[in-house]
Symmetry: C2
Subunit: 190 residues, 2 copies
DNA sequence: ATTTTTAAATAACATATGTTATATAATATA
DNA sequence: TATATTATATAACATATGTTATTTAAAAAT
């Protein structure tokens, strides 16, 4: 009973996501979403208690998108996949990525601490990383995490050299990984 | 003639800078600056046509602060100094640094293109970088630029390992530079 | 066909902020 | 000392936005 639903929760989140990607998360307003959907603000308030709840739902959507990308890039080597996936997210959703760098509170924070042990474990299985102590592996991981973040930030801000392709980015990520690992081997005299 | 000036342009910019560092650039409002100075908004509008002009002045102040840091870190090796200075800025003015990553439009954009040739020239004078082609030097520079940005972003977001000191940051920057250079040498069979 | 339910629209209210017009009062100058 | 100047305060206005109360009307239930 009652009229058909014309504006769903998903549709609202979709619209918010689009605004976030084009104008930034802080530019999201109830009226702007409504206008973009061709509705009033009423349907939004039916689906969300307030703007904070809507933005929480948006964050969940963003996380789900980044998980989807990670899934698509999965090759069985998390150490490698996470770098590629994060880079792809930064390129495809650059405005949102930049917003996340600022509001890293919930999203990025804790992420490293949680991932670290699993990644170290994964690295220990990698033949190319044979013979390293956990401490050495941690350093290699940290260096690559730093490089990958820098690459993503520069890519999201279009600050890489002109004509730099996605493949170039993947190549330099891989090349630097080689640099770091090779040097670590040299240092321990392998 | 007229009462003494109680609130100068510099004082206003100082106050805006403090708000930018504690709450972010977007949290700056005329009333907030006034309240923090213990004045009304009137002195602000005497010194600035509008809020955009004030924020432009703030940007100039930010650039001048970063220049000052670069000056303080100068050792004659720009390739090295810029990395250290940028890192120090990210640590000391983390909130502003994060804002700059987003609003990189004027600040970061063009920066690389302008600096690149001068840095390459500087690198050619460095004995440790002897024998590399310009193309190889460009790659080394880009890799280090990427690493330095990543390190600065992670530092500004407190995403480096717990207890990570400033010296640790400088050390890992330097260690990675060694990695990249050593590997480049290996590649060309030196 | 009438009534009930409820999704959506509308409009109002509250608050935050930029901005400006006017009033106040401190200081220099005559 | 009286006057002119002007830095500052005050208050009002405009706009943007979150939020809510009320109205409208479409669909189901009777």
């Amino acid at each position: 009973m009652g009229p058909k639903v014309k504006f769903t929760k998903e549709q609202i989140i979709d619209t918010a996501f689009k605004i976030a990607q084009t104008e930034g998360i802080d530019s999201i307003t109830m009226r702007k979403i409504a206008e973009k959907m061709g509705s009033s603000v009423a349907p939004i308030y039916v689906n969300f208690k307030n703007v904070d709840e809507l933005k929480e739902a948006l964050m969940e959507r963003i996380i789900s998108v980044s998980r989807q990308i990670l899934k698509e890039e999965s090759t069985g080597n998390p150490f490698h996949d996470i770098g590629i996936a994060s880079l792809r997210f930064a390129v495809e959703y650059s405005v949102i990525f930049r917003d996340l760098v600022i509001k890293s509170g919930k999203y990025m924070q804790g992420y490293d601490e949680k991932m670290m042990p699993a990644l170290i474990e994964e690295m220990q299985k990698d033949p190319a990383l044979n013979g390293f102590t956990v401490e050495e592996l941690k350093t290699i991981l940290l260096k690559m995490r730093i490089f990958q973040v820098g690459l993503s930030v520069l890519a999201a801000n279009s600050l890489l050299p002109k004509e730099y392709t996605n493949q170039d980015m993947i190549d330099i990520l891989s090349s630097t990984a080689d640099d770091v690992i090779m040097s670590a081997k040299m240092r321990r005299g392998l």
